[in-house]
Symmetry: C2
DNA sequence: TATTGTTATACTCTATAACTATA
DNA sequence: TATAGTTATAGAGTATAACAATA
């Protein structure tokens, strides 16, 4: 039941009381573990998108890659890794899969033979266009349910949390 | 730089404009993908906790298990899986590891031989008490940086997102 | 020597199904 | 027949380090 009050996710007991004597009045909210709630919130949102991703046989990670490629043609592997928040080693295994499906193309950078220039193929662009359209519709539905101002507030607060980690913030400052 | 404005995480270009024609005025925030921001926010928060977890040689998943066991003695595997948001199959592999370290004990449920009753051992309780104390301190530091009211607002909004997924909400209603 | 990208290794976690032993 | 838990399998992802080619 979506509307049920989740008051007892974590139950009070002796041990609990002992450990939260540290911050007695607000212990309840902290016991509900911020990372856990973030994980569950992400999962709840992804529920909306998973059927859509599966339908196109694209993993979450691959979708992140396609999105970066859609906005930056001929990006090198390292930059792609940073912008899609995927480890370079992981990317090296994933890109050939997308190449194999004809969604992605690579060519050596003429200015530096070490570098690859990764791009969306025509088929990749077509897939992306179709997917991003559906994705926008799911987002629009989300916004309807949550409310625009509320959703913008969520973005603002998530930015605040992300800014807690200087490393992560730096990665997004491009 | 934590204070830097992240205005250019996703760059505008022709392709971008094309795909976001769908919702022109608010496209920027939606392009910044809610699941992605939730993932990064969780990662940023976890950064604070990872050294603490590693120090005690406990994975994030194992920490979730310990927390559930700390508040519910003699829980069966299925309930433990639900409450810790871990797949039952994954739990079946993880619990023996914790047993091996002497942190967790299991005994068959006398009323139903199929069921296990999983509990924290004395050593497990000692570890939990030490870790939860440190964890509370990290949270307190987070609260100082973010601000109590702001943090409570974050919790409220995450609850809202989680409520979007009836399945996930049901799991937390215990 | 340093950098780009790939490969290797080991580990974590997920998802699904098959299996066992009880009920 | 149904349920609790385990095991098997495959896939997806992380994290590190070693490595080859190029700069």
């Amino acid at each position: 039941m979506p509307s049920a009050k989740k008051t007892s996710v974590i139950k009070r007991n002796a041990a609990d009381t002992a450990l939260t004597g540290f911050a007695p009045m607000t212990s309840r909210s902290f016991e509900r573990s911020l990372p856990m709630l973030l994980m569950r919130a992400r999962d709840a949102v992804m529920q909306r998108f998973r059927p859509h991703l599966r339908e196109h046989d694209v993993t979450e990670q691959q979708w992140r890659i396609l999105r970066v490629l859609a906005e930056q043609h001929g990006i090198d592997m390292q930059s792609l890794a940073e912008r899609s928040y995927i480890q370079a080693a992981s990317l090296s295994r994933t890109i050939p899969l997308l190449e194999g499906r004809g969604l992605v193309e690579r060519s050596p950078d003429p200015a530096d033979q070490r570098r690859s220039r990764v791009s969306l193929s025509k088929a990749g662009r077509t897939l992306f266009d179709a997917m991003v359209q559906e994705s926008a519709e799911i987002y629009a539905q989300l916004e309807t349910e949550i409310g625009g101002p509320q959703l913008r507030e969520i973005y603002r607060m998530l930015d605040g949390l992300i800014a807690l980690d200087p490393g992560a913030t730096a990665a997004s400052d491009d």
